[in-house]
């Protein structure tokens, strides 16, 4: 089973904080991969809040192709942070030429484009680059978005972090998602490393999503190019969130109602049973079915955790005003925020969603039994 840890803090933190928490939970993952999602960035990247950042791994040839492609699109590099480790690669980790984080300046002719248009174009560039590098593995692209950095690699989290030197001072963020992976059901593929990212939102999951194939078919038939990839059955959690948020215009209260709706007989007792029944029917192919704990981050930087409909996975959130962490195991939370009041720790159950907003003042909880906000 994978291990999940995320942290949201008023002070920018090094990703090593999250890696250390994963390391504490090491007995639960086999070190077959590590993934990091960093947003609300600190350090050097603080200056570039609105410029898109490209995160990926490139061969030397890939870098040249990237440059040619981006120049053709009139994207100029504003700032970059590249790792080119000289040390021997850790066991299981392939030798790579360049780990790249680049901040770009938007092309001049993008000025005046709507926010939606810009976001679509950024996604399409990410997809195009991924496609260009697919054949020869010359480019592996994880995100292309303002104020977002993603790092992924195959191997043990701590070893990989040391190898890449992730403790460098340029790299820090206030919101971090991290996952240490146990790869059991599908081939080891770097694109299968969580967290998954789409247009400013990200999720990571442990457990297996047995309803994966019908969900994938449904998403892929929505006629939205971003619903692609799916090297992991967990990628659909991010895309369902995106679909709900961007396509249906629904807020986070509805996520649980889509992925784990109330049972038919429960809906008859719910104050908004009519709407929820319609939603359950219309979104039937998005119902997940597996032991899953999902941790994610929304574009407004709020962080959330939900469980499967039977609550078959552990998951805990705790902290204090200013800093909160979400962890699949309590020991991860203990390692990251030892000084918190553990009496205020919270383990969401099968009907619940917990969320910490970007103000980081409290753990907001709601249940699927609560009355819904009105549709607008």
């Amino acid at each position: 089973m994978c291990r999940l840890f995320s942290i949201t803090s008023n002070e920018a933190l090094s990703p090593i904080v999250a890696i250390n928490a994963l390391n504490v939970m090491k007995e639960g993952h086999d070190g077959s991969g590590v993934g990091l999602f960093l947003t609300d960035l600190g350090g050097e990247f603080e200056k570039f809040k609105n410029e898109p950042i490209l995160s990926g791994i490139f061969s030397n040839e890939g870098i040249k192709a990237l440059d040619r492609f981006m120049i053709d699109l009139d994207f100029m590099v504003k700032y970059k942070l590249s790792f080119r480790p000289n040390r021997p690669t850790p066991p299981g980790t392939p030798k790579r030429d360049n780990y790249v984080i680049r901040v770009y300046e938007y092309p001049a002719d993008w000025e005046g484009f709507s926010q939606e248009d810009i976001q679509f174009r950024l996604m399409m560039i990410q997809l195009r680059l991924r496609e260009m590098g697919e054949k020869d593995q010359s480019m592996l692209i994880f995100s292309f978005w303002p104020d977002v950095i993603m790092i992924k690699e195959v191997g043990d989290p701590l070893t990989v972090a040391e190898y890449l030197g992730l403790d460098r001072k340029e790299l820090s963020a206030r919101t971090i998602l991290s996952q240490g992976r146990q790869n059991t059901n599908y081939a080891i593929d770097i694109y299968a490393c969580h967290p998954f990212f789409i247009q400013g939102m990200s999720t990571m999951t442990n457990g297996e999503n047995t309803a994966f194939v019908p969900i994938r078919e449904f998403l892929m038939s929505r006629d939205f190019p971003g619903y692609a990839g799916y090297q992991s059955d967990s990628e659909v959690f991010a895309h369902i969130l995106h679909y709900m948020h961007n396509k249906l215009g629904l807020s986070m209260e509805m996520y649980k109602h889509i992925i784990t709706p109330l049972k038919d007989n429960e809906l008859t007792r719910h104050p908004d049973g009519g709407l929820l029944r319609n939603l359950k029917q219309s979104c039937r192919p998005l119902i997940i079915d597996g032991p899953n704990c999902v941790i994610g981050c929304l574009p407004d930087k709020s962080m959330f955790m939900v469980q499967d409909s039977k609550k078959l996975r552990p998951g805990i959130v705790g902290g204090r005003p200013g800093i909160f962490a979400f962890s699949s195991e309590m020991c991860g939370l203990d390692a990251a925020i030892p000084e918190r009041d553990i009496n205020l720790d919270y383990q969401p159950m099968k009907y619940e969603t917990v969320l910490v907003r970007s103000e980081r003042q409290e753990i907001v909880k709601w249940s699927q039994w609560d009355t819904l906000p009105p549709l607008h």
């Binding site: 297996e208 047995t210 309803a211 449904f218 319609n278 029917q281 219309s282 979104c283 079915d289």
Partner: protein, 544 residues
């Protein structure tokens, strides 16, 4: 032996028949039960003369003959009275003295059943035990990291939807405007397929309805039953149990006078309306209720004279194309119940099914599509239609589902699959396979008849005389002397037994796959088959 001149081309011996009656003189008590019960009068009391040679010791008396008479069974060999292998004689024999056995080669009877130029008609099913569905295995078992669920202890929600489901965007838009959302029923995914009042005896129908009502009201299982084309008894139409019933309208419109007249008195809406355009067992052919079965009661419910055959036309006569039929009939039926009842067509599986489906995707009132494969059963049809016409359900259903996936409408138009589900007894496995290939639910008829009422029919042409009203179990007979053999209470009990065991078996299939929150519709990654061509055709894994 008779002189040679009396042997006609159609003179057959018992060896030429599909079934031979073995009879044991030593055990027989000459009670006559077997000859009485035989539905086709294949056996008669036989009076046999036997000669014994008497050879006394010595030479004084010459050897002589002793003639004696014994009584027993004669098997008739004319085509009209050939044994159908039902085995009722064995069932009633107090001493186990009689048994029909299947011949060891292809019978000669089949070349002579067309006496008078009339091809063979029968009830039953396609005479082959082949089943692609039986070959499908469930291979994606959740193991180490995500252990399988517990079929006995975890909660399962194995429901499905019948009705046009709006895509999420459209549903939210309609809700904001408080517009019309098409009716959708939450039902159990195993539907009792259309078997008409007329094809079935009153006792069988009553038993099924009681079983369905019990499952709904006592067991909390939303099981639905389709009437078939033959109307519905007025008392049921006006009862609260109508909500468990799918009313079928077909090209003969039998029984619809009564239904329309009952509309103002209905306490509940029916579950749905099924418009039958085709039937898997005899695709492209209309329903057929032969005159033997059209008694006073059936005639009254169907609104026809007694004692005449009721062949429904192959198509709905008022329509010239399926597009028009679908559009007009669905709309008319929807309107009759104030757009509160899902209306969907049922077609026979065919290579042209995708055209129908594509048409439905553009009709906002179409509530689903039922596809009936070649292995479906029937109360009466021409043998050639049953044995040779039609399309297997598995690939047709899969094509339909993948067509919907391509259009992004896989959740909008539920597909119901029928025809051969459980034909060899593997009801839950066949149903689960079809669901994972993309069916929202399945319909079954023959299995219900076998399990709930003891139908003797089989895929090897046993019995299969549903068409002539002589069902030895009283399931498809309108003769009260036969019908009363079936106790409706016992049928209801068996319906409940059957559904409860099906439910357990379905859980035993989905739990190891890690599914419990929703029905695994289209979960094709769980399926494998030991046949590379079938795997390629169905787009599932080939396993060895």
């Amino acid at each position: 032996m008779e002189p040679m001149g009396h042997i006609t081309p159609s003179t057959l011996s018992t060896k030429d028949l599909p079934w031979q009656i073995l009879w044991d003189k030593e055990k027989c008590t000459l009670c006559g039960s077997c000859t009485t019960v035989c539905p086709v009068r294949a056996i008669d009391l036989g009076v046999h003369r036997k000669r014994s040679l008497q050879v006394p010791v010595g030479l004084e008396t010459r050897p002589g003959n002793l003639f004696s008479v014994y009584h027993g069974i004669d098997q008739r060999t004319d085509p009209a009275h050939a044994c159908v292998g039902c085995g009722m004689c064995t069932m009633v024999c107090p001493n186990g003295a009689i048994l029909p056995v299947h011949g060891d080669e292809i019978d000669k009877l089949r070349f002579h059943v067309n006496q008078g130029g009339e091809p063979r008609r029968r009830g039953g099913r396609r005479n082959t035990t082949d089943s692609v569905l039986d070959k499908i295995k469930f291979i994606r078992i959740s193991m180490l990291t995500d252990p399988a669920l517990d079929a006995g202890r975890h909660e399962f929600e194995l429901r499905t939807l019948l009705g046009r489901v709006l895509p999420p965007e459209a549903m939210l838009k309609v809700r904001r405007k408080e517009g019309w959302i098409p009716p959708v029923r939450e039902i159990y995914p195993l539907v009792i397929g259309s078997m008409s009042f007329g094809a079935l005896s009153p006792n069988m129908w009553e038993g099924l309805q009681m079983g369905v009502a019990y499952l709904n009201e006592e067991m909390g299982m939303p099981v639905r039953i389709c009437t078939g084309e033959g109307g519905c008894p007025p008392r049921l139409l006006k009862s609260r149990f109508l909500k468990y019933v799918i009313l079928q309208i077909a090209s003969g419109y039998f029984g619809w006078d009564e239904i329309i007249h009952s509309l103002p008195k209905m306490k509940e809406d029916p579950c749905a309306i099924e418009i039958k355009y085709g039937q898997g067992a005899k695709p492209g052919d209309g329903g057929l209720l032969m005159w033997y079965k059209v008694n006073k009661l059936i005639a009254a419910i169907r609104g026809v004279p007694q004692g005449v055959s009721l062949p429904s036309p192959p198509t709905h006569q008022t329509k010239y194309s399926i597009e028009e039929a679908v559009a007009k009939m669905i709309q008319s039926m929807s309107m009759a119940w104030g757009f509160r009842v899902p209306v969907y067509p049922k077609i026979s599986a065919t290579s042209t099914a995708m055209a129908v489906l594509n048409n439905l995707t553009r009709n906002p009132y179409a509530a689903g599509l039922a596809i009936d494969g070649e292995d479906g059963g029937t109360g009466a049809a021409y043998n050639v239609s049953m044995d040779h016409m039609g399309h297997p359900i598995a690939s047709n259903l899969r094509d339909a589902y993948l067509t919907l996936v391509k259009l992004g409408k896989q959740n909008e138009i539920p597909l119901f699959a029928g025809g051969g589900i459980g034909k060899n007894g593997n009801l839950a496995a066949n149903a689960a396979a079809l669901i994972m290939l993309g069916a929202s639910g399945v319909q079954t008829g023959k299995y219900i008849m076998q399990a709930a009422a003891g139908c003797l029919g089989s895929e090897t042409d046993r019995c299969n005389i549903c068409n002539i009203g002589l069902c030895p179990k009283g399931i498809t007979s309108q003769d009260p002397r036969l019908d009363r053999r079936l106790d409706p209470e016992k049928v209801a009990q068996r319906v409940v037994d059957m559904y409860m065991s099906f439910d357990t078996e379905l859980k035993k299939i989905v739990a190891p796959l890690g599914r419990s929150t929703s029905l695994p519709i289209g979960m094709s990654d769980a399926l494998g088959i030991n046949d590379a061509d079938a795997a390629g055709r169905l787009n599932i894994k080939y396993v060895l």
